[in-house]
């Protein structure tokens, strides 16, 4: 099947074209699977093509026109991927949305793209769309609501509402009437037609619609598939939000290009079980997933018997020493090889199996910095976990790590076809076939992001490592600031170091323009809660546990350790943390403190917790505060707390090296 990876042929300039090719050449291979009704319901490429065509015809029947936008809101399901392709076939533009977006966000996006059709997963999302529609100043552009799950939908007014399966039935019936028109529409798609529009959540301001063309998606998919040797035998688990560009590239772009199988879990709750059942060969997860799993592994190992614990500890040491070398193809002594082999039998194999990672050939993580121990842990087990660096505007890939050149502190070399340059101020710029067309109806932003030559600013500060040629990212370019004394302030760099401790879930480092740095910390309720349980420390809430003196003591140790490590780097030594507090609530996207992709919104936080910031710098030992929170059901409330502020030791450079040496 090597011919599949041949350069994009003139005929293969759209996703529907790739689908047709797959149905033709890989007709009986599985294209989509979904865990539903207790088993993995499967569709071959042939079946998928038929389903998608029926859906496209049905959409035509309902009056979908070229250039229309079709919003898709729902969890990862084959039907939703099909809806996207079906929309493309009709010349329309799919716009996947985050299904957990609050009504205001959704109202904005639906209005902004002017979607005439909305595909919803189930009643919940339909309700949300209807709610958005009934908002006083909402644009009433949605004409047709389609839904996948019929449950609970009987009572709705169906004049503008249809089940996807009914639409498909309509479509099949209309084949003779509209088939030719559809074929004509498909044939009209070319490399520069819009493939998809994705809204970036953005750390500030309103979301922007990133328009990606077929060229963007297909070229990127082709280049990166070749980079990692992906082929039609690979399996991926589609569990990341459909509105995120990564999911579109992996589950749509690369899947269509290589013809591999996209597996959709039953629900978010069963994701881990489904992951284990499928055992993907190609896998992407953000660092927090790996982090969470590692924490989970450690917690579970705490409870296991002495023999297993001993085996685990012993062989994880061996793995740490030998695993990465083996993975990188370096030479390893016979003794180590044997020990690693035994470890594979007793620990690594079973561990990978229970995690569902037994079959991974290529694994990626990105989005945030990953803790070196976490990264090494998975690598040492023999999982080929790598890092990449990317963003929506680049169709994901800017840099990625080639096999055998994997390190936790770099993000790799430029992906095939991507050019990268570093600006004067350290900001990273790139130019590639994947570079987005424009921000939808936002020429201003487009111009400020992408220059005439096609160079796009990433907004991140970084540099190429001389020795390896790999890119290292320090922080968001605009977040890199100056301390009062003029030294460099890179909060993310410190925050990441803090977050590498399992006990710390989030950290916000403050210090731009100030004399010294301080930090606000969120503990990880999982890890710390487990610790509390084992030490018989009773707690009723996050707040109570966060304020526990022993928790404070532990966090303080972590902060000091981070200070020691930060102090080692001359440029960043000024970023050591002098004072910190443990926040009384978890930072939450619902409260606007983080983005949906769990990135901290600094501005919001420094505004909302202004009293705490003041206290961190006025020398007081404690501070009383009230904070507004939003509960799951949307109600709002206030929580009150008195927080302790702790002073921390800081190090000189020499001192730090001594500490590190010990």
């Amino acid at each position: 099947m090597a011919h599949l990876a041949a350069p994009a042929h003139a005929d293969l300039q759209s996703i529907p074209a790739l689908l047709a090719r797959n149905a033709d050449r890989l007709g009986n291979r599985p294209a989509y699977r979904e865990k539903e009704f207790g088993i993995w319901q499967s569709w071959t490429w042939h079946e998928a093509a038929e389903e998608i065509r029926a859906l496209a015809l049905g959409m035509l029947v309902l009056g979908l026109k070229p250039g229309d936008h079709v919003a898709i809101i729902g969890r990862n399901r084959p039907a939703h991927y099909w809806s996207m392709v079906a929309a493309q076939m009709c010349g329309a533009i799919p716009v996947p949305l985050y299904q957990d977006a609050v009504a205001e966000e959704m109202a904005y996006v639906l209005g902004h793209c002017g979607a005439r059709f909305v595909v919803c997963g189930d009643q919940e999302q339909v309700d949300k769309v209807l709610e958005v529609q009934s908002m006083p100043d909402a644009p009433r552009n949605v004409e047709q609501v389609l839904y996948t799950d019929k449950r609970g939908m009987r009572k709705y007014d169906h004049s503008h509402m249809n089940a996807l399966s009914d639409v498909q039935a309509e479509g099949r019936a209309a084949e003779t009437r509209l088939g030719e028109e559809l074929d004509r529409l498909i044939a009209g798609l070319d490399y520069d037609s819009t493939c998809v529009m994705l809204y970036t959540s953005g750390t500030t301001g309103k979301p922007k619609g990133v328009v990606l063309s077929n060229r963007n998606i297909i070229e990127t998919a082709k280049n990166t598939s070749e980079f990692d040797g992906l082929n039609h035998r690979d399996e991926v688990l589609a569990y990341l939000p459909m509105a995120w560009v990564g999911d579109f590239i992996f589950s749509m772009g690369q899947a269509m290009w290589t013809g591999f199988t996209v597996n959709c879990p039953e629900s978010a709750a069963t994701m881990m079980t489904d992951l284990r059942e499928i055992g993907p060969t190609y896998f992407f997860a953000p660092p927090r997933v790996f982090e969470g799993q590692l924490t989970n592994v450690m917690i579970r190992m705490e409870d296991s018997g002495r023999v297993k614990k001993w085996l685990f500890d012993r062989y994880m040491k061996v793995a740490n020493r030998v695993g990465p070398k083996l993975l990188d193809g370096k030479s390893v002594g016979f003794g180590d090889r044997l020990a690693y082999g035994l470890g594979k039998v007793f620990v690594y194999g079973p561990l990978k199996n229970t995690l569902g990672y037994s079959r991974i050939r290529v694994g990626y993580t990105a989005g945030e910095a990953i803790g070196p121990e976490i990264f090494d842990f998975y690598r040492s087990l023999g999982i080929n976990l790598k890092q990449l660096y990317g963003q929506t505007e680049a169709s994901v890939f800017i840099t990625q790590q080639p096999d055998g050149e994997v390190r936790s502190d770099t993000v790799g070399v430029p992906s095939p076809g991507v050019e990268v340059k570093i600006a004067e101020n350290g900001e990273v710029f790139y130019r590639s076939p994947g570079t987005f067309v424009e921000y939808f109806q936002n020429a201003e932003s487009t111009a400020s992001t992408k220059d005439a030559e096609g160079w796009v600013a990433t907004g991140d500060a970084g540099f190429f490592e001389e020795s390896s040629g790999h890119l290292r990212i320090i922080d968001r370019a605009k977040d890199v600031g100056k301390m009062a004394d003029g030294s460099m302030f890179a909060p993310k760099y410190v925050e990441n170091k803090l977050k590498f401790y399992p006990n710390i879930l989030e950290a916000v480092v403050i210090g731009n323009g100030r004399d010294y740095c301080t930090a606000m910390i969120n503990i990880d309720l999982n890890a710390v809660g487990n610790w509390a349980e084992r030490n018989n420390i009773a707690y009723a809430s996050y707040q109570e546990l966060a304020g526990h003196p022993q928790v404070y003591a532990t966090i303080k140790e972590h902060v000091e350790a981070v200070n020691a490590s930060v102090a080692e780097d001359e440029m960043l030594a000024g970023c050591q943390i002098h004072r910190f507090l443990v926040l009384h609530k978890e930072l939450d996207p619902d409260d606007g403190e983080m983005t949906r992709t769990r990135k901290v919104r600094r501005a919001v936080i420094s505004d909302k917790f202004g009293d705490l910031v003041d206290a961190l710098y006025d020398g007081s030992n404690s501070v009383y505060t009230e904070t507004e929170v939003t509960y799951e059901d949307g109600r709002k409330g206030k929580i009150k707390a008195t927080l302790r502020i702790e002073d921390v030791q800081v190090f000189g450079q020499a001192q730090a090296q001594k500490v590190a040496a010990e």
Binding site: F37, R151, G152, K155
Partner: protein, 283 residues
């Protein structure tokens, strides 16, 4: 069908006017008619000359204080108790004396007040038992797992999986029911009853012992069942609020007698019912 006599008068269900509920559901004619039921245990009269009907597609509640005879009434309907007097008419035919399993075959399924799941089986197997009356394959076919047996097993499984999905119990599919918490057990029991694709579903205190959240879930499921499958539901419930929200018509029992029958509003304003619930002394 030897146990069913034709209605001597008409041979057809009594022509009853259907009606449409406030939320737009169509209620049909009389599906089941209980006439002058009296049930005695030894000298004790558990049910005293009670008559009421159940219409197709409605949610019919039976309420009353403890010991009012509600469960006995349900047991009469499901054939577990045979009343000394009175007649049960179902789909226009008078039901002769029947064993409970024969009643089940007519399309009457039920859940139990004190959960009656099969503890030695998984959730899936429990629900699959609900489909035993839909199974036609013979003994030999099952013993050799030939043709019909396997086909039917798979067809049953498909149906059951839809119910599992409907009641949102996917993640406990293969758990032995003994290990489940109370609320989930109740749901599995409902699933088992639904698997029989009943015409009438009898629910014996489906919300008993549940917390508010579980009650809300269960109420939603009961309504959804009625709505999605058009199943006629007869339910016993203690919680007045739940009954008033869910049901179309309510029978009120007290000390084995019927003291009220009508829409929730009518029943709520019935003096005798108020007395019974407020514990006014009986004469």
């Amino acid at each position: 069908m030897t146990d069913i006599e034709s209605n001597p008068l008409t041979g057809q269900p009594a022509p009853a006017e259907g009606y449409v509920t406030a939320d737009g559901r169509q209620i049909g004619g009389v599906l089941m008619d209980l006439r002058n039921i009296t049930l005695r245990f030894g000298g004790v009269e558990a049910i005293k000359n009670i008559s009421f009907d159940v219409r197709e597609g409605e949610i019919r509640a039976i309420i009353g204080p403890n010991g009012a005879g509600k469960s006995s009434m349900l047991n009469v309907i499901s054939g577990f108790y045979v009343p000394q007097e009175g007649e049960v008419w179902f789909k226009g035919y008078k039901r002769g004396p029947m064993r409970p399993y024969e009643v089940a075959r007519l399309g009457i399924a039920r859940t139990f007040q004190n959960i009656a799941l099969f503890d030695g089986m998984t959730v899936l197997d429990n629900i699959m038992t609900g489909r035993l009356n839909k199974t036609k394959s013979g003994f030999l076919s099952q013993a050799l797992w030939w043709g019909a047996a396997e086909r039917e097993e798979i067809a049953n499984r498909e149906q059951v999986e839809r119910i599992i999905d409907f009641l949102e119990i996917q993640n406990i599919r293969k758990t032995p029911v003994g290990r489940l918490p109370y609320g989930l057990k109740k749901r599995v029991e409902l699933a088992r009853a639904l698997a029989a694709e009943p015409q009438i579903l009898l629910l014996d205190e489906p919300m008993a012992g549940m917390n508010v959240e579980e009650k809300e879930d269960m109420s939603r499921f009961v309504l959804d069942v009625n709505d999605e499958f058009g199943t006629t539901i007869v339910l016993i419930e203690h919680d007045m609020g739940v009954v008033m929200d869910l049901s179309d018509r309510v029978v009120v029992m007290d000390y084995g007698r019927k003291i009220g029958d009508g829409s929730p509003d009518e029943v709520r304003n019935n003096q005798e019912v108020i007395d019974a619930y407020l514990g006014v002394a009986h004469d």
